[in-house]
Amino acid sequence: MKLNFLTFGDRGAARLWRAAIIIALFSLWEMAGRYHFLDNDILPPLSRIFDMMLRLINDRHFRYDAWITLNECLITFAIVVPVGLVTGFILGENQRLHRHLGPIFQLAMTTPKSIFLPVFILLFGIGIVEKIIFASVLTYFIIVPTGIAAVQSLSPSLLMMARSFGATKTDIYLRLYIPACLPLIISAIRLGLIFSMHGIIFAEMYASSEGIGRSILAWGESFDMVRLFAAVALVMIITISLNETLTWLEHISRRQRLEY
C-alpha cells in the first residue's frame, strides 16, 4: 500500500524545482529586457529594477514615505489585534452573544469593506486618522473570527479544570487561552499584519498625499515603470519575509502544544 510518506527526496526535489522555476523566470525576465523581446518601457530588465531598488532605499523621500506607511500599519496593528482577539475570546466563550452577534461578523467578512472608504472620507476627511480607522475596521473583522476559532478550539474540560482550581476570568485569558491558542494567535497576528498593510496601502492609493501607496500609484500613472517595479518589489519582499517568519513561528508553537 502506498502511503503518503514524505521522504527527504520529495521535499528536497520540490525545493530544487522551486528554485529552478524562480531562477528560470528571473533569467527570462532579464534576457527579455536586455535583448528587447518586450518594450523596455513595459517590462524593464531585472538589473535596472534591482539597481533602482537600491537607489530607492537610499532615497530620503522614499524612506520618509515608507516610514509613514509603516507607522500607520503598526498603529493599526497595535490597536486592532488585542481588541479583536479579546472580542473574539468573549464571543467564543459566550454562547448567547455569539448567536446574536456572530452573524454580523460572518456577514462583514464577505463584504467588500473597501467600499466604505469614501464614507470614511466624508466623515473624517483625508488624513492619518481616516486611514487608520479604515484599516482598523477592515482588519478587525478578520481578527475576531480567528479569536472565536481560537477559543472554540480549546477543550472545555481544560476550562473546567482551571475553574476548579480557582481561576478568574483574567487567569483564564492570560494563562489558558493565550498559551493554549498560541498558534492561532500567531496566525491572527499574521492576518492582522497582512490586512492592516492592505488597508493602509489601499487608503493611501485612494486618497493621500504621502506614503508608499501614493508613490506607487503616482509612478504607475506617470508610467515610471522602473520605479514602480522597484517599489512593488520592495513591498513584496518585506511582506513575504514577515509572512514567512510568522508562519515559521506558528509552526514552532504548534509543535510545542503537542496533543497527547
Partner: protein, 242 residues
Amino acid sequence: MMKRLIIIASLVLLWQMAAEWGVLNPLIVGTPLMIAQAAKKNGLIFIMALRVTLFEMICACALAWSSGLIIGMICGANKCRTLCVTPLISAMIAVPLVVLYPVIVAWAGIGPISKIIYGAAAGFFPMTLSVINGVNGIDQRYIVMARAMGASRLTILIDIYARFALPSIMSGLRIGTSLLIIAIIQSEMLSATDGLGFWISYYRSLFAVGDVYFGVILVLCIAAFINQILSYAEQRLRFTMI
C-alpha cells in the same frame, strides 16, 4: 426574519429623525431621504455602472475559477508538485495585491480589462490553494483501489478526486470569489472609467452624500447576493455528495 426587518426599519427611521433634529449633520452623515432622492435622480447611472461591475466580476470569476481548478488539480495530485508550488502561492497571498494593481493598469489600461485581470489574480491564489489542499487530502488508497478495479485515469479524476476534494474546492471558490469581488471594487475605486466603485468615488468628490450611500448599498447587495448563491451551492453539493 420579521424581527430583523422591523429592527432595520426602525433604525432607518431613527437615522432620518436624528438628522432632522440636528443631532447628526446631514451634510456629512447623510439621511435615508437623501439616499432615496439620489436613487431617483441617478438611478440609471448606477444601474449601468452595476452592469459593468457585474460583467467584470463574471469574467474574472470565469478566469480565476478555471485556472484555479486546473492548476490546483494538476498540482494537488502530485506530492512533489504540491510541495513545490504551495509556498509560492502562500507567499503571493501574503502580499497586499493592491500594490500590483498600478502595474496591471500600466499594461492593460484603465478599462475593464485591468479590473478583470486584477480581480482574477486576487481570487486565483486562495482558490488554487484550497483546491490543492482538497486534492492533496485524498487518501491515496482510494486511488490504488480504483486503479486495481481497472478505472481509467479520467474516471479516477472525475469520480474520486472531484468527489473527495469537492468540499474544499467549493469553500475555496467561495472565499476566492469574495476576495475577487473585493478586489474588483477596489480597482474601480482607484483608476477606472466606469463601474460602481468609480461612480461612488465620483460622487464622493462632489460631496453628494446620498449618491455615495446609494452606491455603497448597491455594492453590498451584489456582494451579499453572490455570496449567498455560492453558500447555497456549497450546501447543496455537500448533501448530494455524501
